[in-house]
Amino acid sequence: MDIIPGLSQTASALDANKQRLEIIAQNIANAQTTQGLDGEPYQRRGVSFVSVLQGANQKGVAVQEVFTDETPGPSVYNPSHPHADGEGMVRMPNVQMAVEMVDMISASRAYQANLSASKISRQMAESALRIGQ
């Protein structure tokens, strides 16, 4: 029996959502990167979550994999760009700012919700320690 109940599940969710936020930040930072290390335009990354068993009926959450979104990005006409092809078209990353922002809000909301859950766990542990006083 843990002194502070439910903390390991909450901690795993905080960790997973932080990783998700890091990936979103990376997507936004690279929204205009037309050439990565492999010479290709940046492709947006995403995370997929999976449950991990941490005891009877107690499931934490973990990042299963960081996947690459293979949808092709748009091409824009910009002949003066150093990465333009023979016809003056530049292939842009497939990052859509609106999608990333919405994702970021939901990740930070999930983070906040779990943070409140950890606060509640703490309060419960404190009230258990006060029994008999």
Partner: protein, 128 residues
């Protein structure tokens, strides 16, 4: 005789419900943690266990309460709607239940403290 000191029905009940509230908190915390895991189904105290507990409170047979009999099942309540992946956790609902459960825990703790204080008063013959 010393054993009998702690056998009052209400004290036994507060102990049993403290155990249940602590376990339920863990389960609610994992529901919240998995709010965005595809296909996760929220877990809740099984209705049959809830009924047995209520029945044993009603007929004062809580001495035989065994916390390990507590069982949790996937929630079948249609009030929790599933998203396209089959996940039926709602963050707001879960947070609300967590708060409610924590308050209940706090109240039960106070109640247990009160029972112990009464016992102390009876032993020492003076209050506090």
């Amino acid at each position: 005789m010393l054993d009998n000191m702690f056998q009052s029905a209400s004290y036994q009940a507060s102990k049993a419900f403290l155990d249940v509230a602590a376990e339920r908190h863990k389960v609610l915390a994992s529901n919240l943690a998995n709010a965005e895991t595809p296909g996760y189904r929220r877990v809740e105290l099984s209705p049959s266990f809830d009924n047995t507990l209520k029945a044993s409170v009603a007929n004062g047979s809580l001495q035989s309460f065994d916390p390990s009999e507590m069982s949790f099942v996937e929630d079948q309540n249609p009030a929790f709607r599933s998203d396209p992946t089959g996940n039926n956790v709602s963050e707001d609902q879960e947070l609300m239940l967590l708060n409610e459960n924590a308050l209940r825990y706090e109240a039960l703790g106070q109640f247990a403290s009160g029972s112990l204080r009464q016992l102390k008063t009876a032993i020492t013959g003076r209050s506090s």
